[in-house]
């Protein structure tokens, strides 16, 4: 249908060479951390009190509404406070402040298991108890995707990483190929799919070669996707790999997707019995002196990470939690690196001069959801609720493509967000 819809994607200048072949900096022994007590929009209940001694692996909080998600301490030390800090969602949420005693005492919350010999139910229970969550950015509890895997014919590991600047997944995969293999095969087993695949961008030649070697002899195929944005979005990736579209969840198209870093974290739990405690984070952009990838303990403030990369290059910067397309810019650098953060993009601030819309329709042609951002913006301005409903505003994933492509430099995506908020108010 692209004859009538336009390409619905676009090649972006990735700037990945800034960090893709630099050495990785290890920052896994910070003095003090703030663990966010939040998963998605749901708060997590603290299970320890101020003054308590915790070890690596001590369960310190859990989410227990319609989803279950335990939070384990990434360091050993003392809980000194529970205080509000701005999170990457720009809201003030509770964080648990833990002072590291640098003893690295481990308190294993679960024992390693052999995924091949256990039943699917046991494996699912393990994933749930290990506190695995989507590390691609959404932070969705991993077990929830596998509770009822019917008619799944393709399990997909998403290693596309289509955001510009970010190379954390690439680095993580390159460094941890055997863990990636274990995690992928375990998740493939859970999905009950006949075959699996691991999707990476076609320009990552070295990674593709290593992956093919690693997965040789398994029923996991290495698949490449073109260097386009948003190839890493579930819908676009499923479409690219299978030619299928779906309405709400990828399982409708017979697919389950997980991020590559999630598979590696799961393998760490399966093999070593260790919960998620650290993350690969890309620190990049023209606003930071020494762009590189950093292994960061969860709960480390962005300020410390950026300082470790040489600090800022100018006095006026945008600090973005994530990549430049979908990441929020945060008005300070005190927020901490939580589980879903896979990059800190620091850009020198260059104001864009906005001119009038020339109705070129580029936003419509590149929208991966098939929306008309320009029409949505115009309807939002006059608060035309009927037209907004017709324009299917809520199908927007805020990928940022419409603002990116706009030659008039209009904040088109922000207009669509306004429309979504207006719709939510009117409902």
């Amino acid at each position: 249908m692209s004859f009538l819809t336009g390409p619905m994607h676009h090649h972006l200048e990735g700037h990945k060479e800034l960090t893709s072949h630099k050495d990785i900096l290890n920052m896994t022994d910070p003095d003090v951390i703030w663990v966010p007590l939040m998963n998605g929009n749901a708060p997590c209940t603290p299970l320890v009190s101020v003054g308590d001694k915790v070890n690596i692996g001590t369960k310190i909080a859990e989410r227990n509404d319609h989803f279950y998600l335990p939070v384990y301490s990434p360091v050993s030390g003392t809980v000194v406070a529970i205080e509000k800090r701005m999170s990457t969602t720009l809201k003030n949420v509770d964080h648990m402040k833990i002072e590291n005693d640098h003893q690295n005492t481990v308190d294993k919350p679960f024992n390693p298991i052999d995924y091949e010999s256990v039943s699917n139910e046991e494996l699912l229970e393990f994933v749930k108890n290990a506190g695995m969550l989507g590390l691609g950015g959404a932070g969705f509890p991993t077990y929830a995707k596998f509770t009822n895997p019917t008619n799944v014919d393709l399990f997909i590991i998403n290693g596309v990483e289509c955001e510009p600047y970010l190379t954390a997944d690439y680095k993580n995969m390159m460094e941890n190929l055997s863990l990636l293999k274990t995690g992928t095969l375990a998740l493939l087993k859970l999905s009950q799919a006949k075959k699996g695949c691991i999707a990476v961008k076609e320009d990552k030649k070295d990674l593709i070669a290593k992956l093919q070697e690693t997965f040789n002899g398994t029923n996991v195929e290495v698949r490449t996707v073109p260097d386009i944005y948003p190839a890493g979005w579930e819908r676009t990736l499923v479409l690219l790999l299978t030619g299928r579209r779906y309405d709400r969840l990828p399982i409708e198209a017979g697919c389950i997707l997980n991020n590559a870093s999630t598979a590696i974290a799961l393998a760490d739990a399966l093999v070593n019995g260790m919960p998620l405690r650290q993350k690969y984070v890309t620190v990049s952009g023209d606003g930071v002196k020494e762009p590189k990838n950093v292994i960061v303990t969860i709960g480390t403030p962005a300020h410390d990470v950026i300082e470790a990369c040489g600090g800022y290059t100018s006095e006026e910067v945008k600090v973005i939690a994530g990549g430049p397309m979908m990441g929020n810019s945060i008005p300070n650098d005190l927020f901490v690196v939580g589980a879903p953060v896979n990059g800190l993009t620091v850009l020198n601030y260059k104001p864009e001069k906005e001119v009038k819309c020339l109705r070129c329709g580029k936003c419509t042609e590149t929208c991966p959801s098939g929306l008309e951002p320009v029409r949505i913006n115009n309807a939002e301005k006059i608060k035309d609720i009927d037209t907004l409903v017709k324009l299917d505003v809520n199908a927007c994933i805020e990928c940022g493509m419409c603002s990116y492509i706009c030659p008039s430099k209009i904040d088109v995506t922000e207009g669509v967000r306004r429309a979504k908020r207006y719709m939510a108010l009117k409902k």
Partner: protein
């Protein structure tokens, strides 16, 4: 340390609106340079400079109008001018005008185009009509009489329109031949509106703009394609041949309009299905206007009419383009079929005009003639009012040459002309050589032309005069439309010479 807060995304495409307009301006300037060079080389520096002056006047008028508007509406003048792109409108308007338009007509049309075509709607991005097309419509309908006749000869669209847009294959080939053949028309070596002739250059501009993603390929391709396919089908249906479709595409503003006007993003729909339907509609209207209206070229009005429809087209295709893919495809197909059926229907009922258009002189050396002809004049008829006289200047027994004089167009107003020219009437003179044995004209040379330059002299072009060779008193000669008196004056002189030869 300052942390800037902005909503995502924080990454912008290098392409900008001013960049798009810069590319567009470059392409338009390339076309303008071609036009200046063509007229300079073929009609002298005066006409070449006139093209330049047209461009300068139009651009100045556009910028001044915008500057005054921005000043009056208390906007920043320089910023406003730079983000309003008035010069693009001005250059397009100039290039779709004839070199013969007067400077003031072009200037006033530019002001009206900018003011009523664009600014009153809210400026750039808000206008409904393509401002240049709006200005050209004003120019055509209001200032047609102010044209000066620097470069004479009908444009291809005028020539075919004066005869009939629905004609035979022979006539199409004659017309193409009159403009030097298809190759010549591709290279733009003929007179039409200033910018619309050079097909090769226009197609290069189209490719450049598409590759640079400044325009959507769907608009020019579907517009030009629709005109081509529709006229091809009509041509085959009516026996006008394949060249008929090529003539439709090459003659007039189809290519220029397809590359620079249909593609105006402001006045076309935002979705791709909308753009496809828009372009097909404009193509069908162009063909309909050519076949069924008295306008020489339908491009302008077809674009203006589709401009009017773009808000409706946008509304038709509103919604999620993926979820509604089926219904969108259905709408495009139904819309396109409706347009094409109407276009083909109009073509089917169009009558083929037989007869033949003026063909170039058989000698091959005379320049091509493109004149439309009225009722022929009988050389044995009554032409006494012209008081033609023939005086023998040589006679070798087999051929005789006569110096002939006759009244011209001035006999309509004997008093007025007599007083200010000093002649009794405007007077034409020519030398006519007659074969005494057969009583046929063998050569005609005009020695004095006393009628109106730019009107009567259409009948005294070499090609027309050459057409009189071989005539006898029993024949008829061509009468050139809009130069009837001059034609009759010449016929009277031929009659006088032939009579003198008969009496010899």
């Amino acid at each position: 340390m300052k942390f800037v807060f902005k909503p995502a995304p924080h990454y912008r495409s290098p392409q900008s609106t001013s960049g798009i307009m810069r590319d567009l301006t470059l392409c338009l300037l390339a076309v303008a340079v071609f036009s200046v060079v063509y007229y300079w080389m073929n009609y002298g520096s005066e006409v070449g400079l006139r093209v330049l002056l047209h461009l300068a006047i139009s651009v100045c008028c556009a910028l001044c109008t915008e500057a005054i508007w921005f000043a009056c509406t208390k906007q920043k003048v320089v910023d406003g001018l730079l983000s309003s792109y008035g010069w693009v409108t001005a250059i397009i308007l100039t290039l779709i005008s004839s070199v013969n338009v007067s400077h003031y007509a072009l200037g006033v049309s530019t002001v009206l185009a900018i003011l009523f075509g664009k600014l009153v709607f809210g400026g750039f991005g808000q206008n409904i009509f393509n401002p240049a097309a709006f200005g050209a419509a004003v120019l055509m309908s209001t200032f047609a009489a102010s044209n000066v006749d620097l470069v004479s000869g009908a444009t291809p669209t005028q020539a075919i329109n004066a005869f009939s847009w629905m004609t035979t294959a022979d006539n199409v080939n004659t017309l193409i031949g009159n403009y030097g053949g298809l190759g010549n028309m591709f290279l733009g070596q003929y007179v039409s509106t200033m910018g619309s002739t050079c097909a090769v250059l226009l197609l290069l501009c189209m490719v450049f703009l598409i590759v640079r993603k400044d325009i959507d390929w769907q608009l020019p391709v579907f517009y030009i394609g629709t005109v081509f396919v529709l006229t091809l089908l009509i041509g085959l249906m009516k026996g006008a041949g394949i060249n008929y479709a090529l003539f439709h595409v090459l003659a007039g503003g189809v290519l220029f309009g397809g590359v620079f006007m249909v593609t105006d993003p402001v006045t076309s729909p935002v979705t791709i299905p909308g753009k496809i339907l828009f372009a097909i509609g404009a193509g069908v209207f162009t063909v309909i206007f050519r076949l069924r209206s008295n306008m020489p070229d339908g491009v302008l009005y077809s674009i203006l009419i589709m401009n009017m429809l773009y808000p409706a087209i946008d509304k038709i295709f509103d919604g999620n383009q993926i979820k509604n893919a089926g219904s969108i495809l259905k709408k495009v197909l139904i819309g396109a079929c409706c347009f094409l059926v109407v276009g083909l229907g109009i073509g089917a009922i169009a009558e083929v005009k037989e007869g033949s258009v003026a063909s170039p002189s058989s000698s091959g050396s005379a320049p091509a003639v493109d004149v439309s002809l009225g009722t022929p004049i009988s050389l044995s008829g009554d032409l006494a009012t012209y008081k033609a006289e023939a005086e023998e200047i040589s006679n070798d027994g087999s051929v005789a040459t006569y110096h002939c004089t006759a009244r011209g167009f001035g006999l309509l107003d004997p008093d007025g002309i007599a007083s200010h020219t000093g002649h009794e009437y405007s007077r034409n003179e020519m030398d006519v050589t007659v074969d005494l044995a057969t009583g046929t004209v063998t050569d005609v040379v005009l020695t004095h032309f006393g009628d109106t330059e730019g009107i009567g002299d259409i009948a005294t072009q070499e090609g027309v005069l050459a057409g009189h060779v071989g005539k006898t008193l029993n024949d008829e000669v061509d009468c050139v439309t809009s130069a009837t008196y001059t034609s009759e004056s010449i016929a009277a002189m031929l009659q006088a010479a032939l009579n003198a030869a008969a009496g010899n």
